[in-house]
């Protein structure tokens, strides 16, 4: 463990608040956690007595499960707040909701919210460390960290790697957080998708390349990440049909030929097989899609551990 780095009491809104050195420390800690998860007895007493609250204002299955499992394995107590049927439905503000919950004695919050900036608001009103589990289209730092971990574990350093992210860039918090993290670790990142799903000034904000042609974007890529394409974007007039989308942007044997021969394939899930990615790629040996899910638990354990001051 790198003792000089301090994570205790800090929030994780996005990766821009963390240095490359700190990100590597999180990856190292995640590696240890991953080892623990392979044991028969997958439990550490390290966060015994700490209480973690998961505030989920947006539907989520895998992220919530992953966080709760991570907290469980570190022996922390978990309380779950889900917005359905809660006081929010009765018109209580986020501010009053967290005041109330905080009065019960919480040590750390994990929040998922459809509106960006909500994690900052929770911290402002509780003063407790807040871990962002996805806020609107803004950020999803734990997803980015598990993606980065998955690449780092397979390929070592990210420095100089060519990474291509393909799909609905505009509505993706996964892309935004990954761009910040991957750039910090020295990767060359290209984003690719239809023009209508590309936010303005991507290259100015993130220092990435922007391509609208998949084959050009995939050229010599070491890592390729597909993104979930949502049908609702069609009714918003952003693209004509899933079929045409797939024709232009699907990751297939054919299109992956342009990437490096053993290029890793990632996807944050849930996948639309046949739309943004074909089974021939999703299930191929180069795919680390399931491994990402395994790594997610380890990365979240590492973060909870570091932020709550656990000792190895």
């Amino acid at each position: 463990m790198q003792n000089e780095l301090n994570f205790v009491g800090r929030c994780l809104y996005d990766l821009n608040d963390y240095t490359a050195e700190e990100i590597y420390a999180i990856l190292e800690a995640s590696k240890v956690m991953k080892e623990i998860n392979k044991r028969d007895y997958k439990k550490l007493p390290t966060l015994k007595g700490k209480t973690i609250c998961t505030l989920f204002f947006e539907n989520s299955t895998r992220t919530l499960m992953s966080f709760e499992l991570a907290a469980d394995r570190l022996s922390a107590d978990i309380v779950r707040f889900a917005s359905n049927g809660s006081s929010l439905a009765k018109g209580e503000s986020l501010q009053d909701t967290v005041y109330t919950i905080n009065a019960m004695g919480i040590d750390l919050y994990v929040i998922r919210h459809n509106l960006p900036g909500s994690p900052q608001l929770v911290h402002k009103h509780t003063g407790k460390p807040v871990l962002n589990a996805g806020d609107g289209h803004h950020a999803h730092p734990t997803q980015a960290l598990l993606d980065i971990f998955s690449i780092w574990e397979k390929l070592g350093s990210l420095d100089g790697l060519k990474i291509t992210l393909v799909g609905d860039i505009a509505h993706s918090r996964v892309v935004r957080s990954n761009l910040i993290g991957m750039k910090k670790l020295g990767a060359e990142v290209t984003v690719c998708g239809p023009k209508t799903l590309m936010p303005s000034q991507m290259s100015e904000v993130y220092g990435c390349k922007v391509e609208y042609d998949l084959k050009t974007a995939l050229k010599d890529a070491d890592v390729v990440m597909g993104l979930r394409m949502q049908l609702e974007r069609q009714s918003e007039g952003l693209f004509p049909s899933l079929e045409e989308y797939s024709k232009l942007f699907t990751l297939s044997k054919e299109t992956m030929k342009y990437a490096k021969k053993d290029a890793l394939v990632l996807h944050p899930g849930p996948m639309n097989r046949g739309i943004e990615i074909l089974p021939e790629i999703a299930d191929s040996s180069r795919s680390v899609i399931l491994e990402q899910v395994t790594n997610g638990v380890a990365v979240r354990m590492a973060l909870l551990f570091l932020m709550l001051g656990g000792r190895m």
């Binding site: 503000s93 986020l94 501010q95 919210h113 509106l115 960006p116 900036g117 909500s118 900052q120 608001l121 806020d135 609107g136 289209h137 803004h138 950020a139 918090r173 935004r176 936010p199 303005s200 000034q201 991507m202 100015e204 904000v205």
Partner: protein, 425 residues
């Protein structure tokens, strides 16, 4: 009343003069007026004496939203900011689309206000952009312009008819330019900051398309169009070109669009959430350039108070609007005059002389025969804005907890002190 020894605004310069006030008017402006001529002396030694500021764009929130502001608190905030006349925008609850509501505001302001209040009536009933309002009746009540501010008539045919109808009454139509189909779901300017923060963007185009349309309507109908809170470089260029070919178009800019950019929205500070949104540096500089070359006629506050509990929310859920009246002069003086971006005389012209001329009121100058609307300012004086010091009912300014130079010491409206020594309470 005698304002003694101040540096008095005389158009393009300041002169050390005394100002003698008799009743509601300025009786004499001269180098040395004997103190025996007045019963009350205001010592302005070392201070500047400006004509009272005039605001074409204030949301007083009264009637109907008086938890945010009311006519008493809003006019008091105005007096504190050096204003002597403000114009109330009609998007209250109910909307000011009838003579009764116009008269309510006028009467209450006269009875309990700290400055003069002119009323702007709605352009369409309930500002729904469907049916025309009774402009002639509201004129009897004393409206000075019409606007659906806060909203924007989307249907071009209705806008054409409304402008045509109003052009008969010789008052301007004020447009809040926003194409809803382009601004929908938008929270801040569409650009680097919206991309970075994952917030919906309001593109410059949403403003420019309506301004382009309305300039064409004004030109076609020979009607006076006034553009509220202009904020983009292209929109200002369109106004510049329209003016040069003789279209009756005027426009205003807010202090925040002159001082801030979208960068202020980082960290999701909901006090920076406003329509039109804070734009890019290029746009901000274009606003300044437009003000200096008179493409932009004057500065208007767009004072839009909101309570803490309304602003203390997720960014998407917080209402649009910035609290401005108390901060405008000090923030503009500190941010622009002290940084040598604009001459002090020019700033006063844009805060007072020019909007007074627009309203055709006998104010905006300090000379014999003008109304005694006067603001005495200590340019060296500090002013700090905090929840404790603000007299507005709300505190929603991005300048909260900051200190500026240029403190208003005394405001005199129609010969009566409304702020500072001797203020009525």
């Amino acid at each position: 009343m005698l304002v003694k020894n101040g540096l008095v605004y005389q158009g393009d310069k300041f002169e050390k003069l005394d100002v003698l006030i008799k009743g509601t008017k300025i009786e004499r402006v001269a180098p040395s007026i004997d103190e025996t001529e007045a019963t009350k002396i205001i010592d302005a030694e070392g201070k500047h004496v400006f004509p009272g500021f005039v605001d074409l764009h204030t949301h007083l929130r009264d009637p109907g939203q008086t938890h945010k502001e009311d006519i008493i608190s809003g006019t008091k905030a105005a007096a504190k900011g050096g204003y002597t006349t403000i114009c109330a925008m009609p998007n209250t609850d109910p909307i000011v689309d009838n003579i009764a509501t116009v008269e309510y505001i006028k009467r209450k302001a006269k009875d309990v206000g700290y400055c003069k209040v002119s009323v702007i009536g709605a352009l369409t009933k309930k500002s729904e952009g469907k049916e025309l309002t009774e402009v002639a009746s509201m004129l009897e009540g004393g409206i000075v312009a019409v606007s659906d501010d806060g909203g924007c008539v989307q249907n071009t045919k209705i806008k054409l008819n409304a402008m045509k109808y109003v052009s008969n009454f010789n008052i301007p139509v004020i447009v809040h330019a926003e194409d809803y189909s382009l601004s929908a779901k938008g929270q801040i300017n569409a650009g680097t900051m919206s991309t970075k923060l994952g917030l919906g963007g309001i593109p410059a185009l949403a403003e420019e398309i309506i301004i382009s349309r309305d300039i064409m309507l004004a030109e076609n109908l020979n009607c006076h169009l006034h553009i509220a809170h202009i904020s983009t470089a292209k929109a200002i260029q369109m106004v510049r070109e329209a003016k040069s070919r003789g279209v009756k178009v005027t426009c205003e800019v807010t202090p925040h669009h002159l001082l801030l950019t979208e960068d202020a929205c980082d960290n999701y500070d909901t006090n920076t959430k406003v329509k039109p949104p804070l734009r890019t540096k290029k746009d901000r500089l274009a606003c300044l350039e437009g003000l200096l070359d008179d493409t932009i006629d004057f500065i208007a506050s767009d004072h839009a108070p909101h309570s803490d509990f309304e602003k203390e929310k997720e960014f998407n859920l917080a209402p649009f609007g910035i609290n401005v009246l108390e901060t405008s002069f000090a923030s503009l003086y500190t941010g622009l005059v002290m940084e040598n971006k604009i001459e002090l005389t020019k700033l006063i012209e844009k805060l007072s002389t020019s909007p007074a001329k627009f309203l055709k009121i006998n104010s905006g100058l300090i000379k014999e025969g003008c109304l005694a609307d006067i603001t005495v300012v200590d340019l060296e004086g500090d002013i700090h804005f905090s929840a404790e010091t603000m007299v507005s009912k709300s505190n929603n300014t991005p300048f909260i907890n900051q200190t500026f130079k240029g403190r208003v010491d005394t405001t005199i409206c129609d010969g009566v002190v409304t702020w500072g020594a001797g203020t009525k309470s």
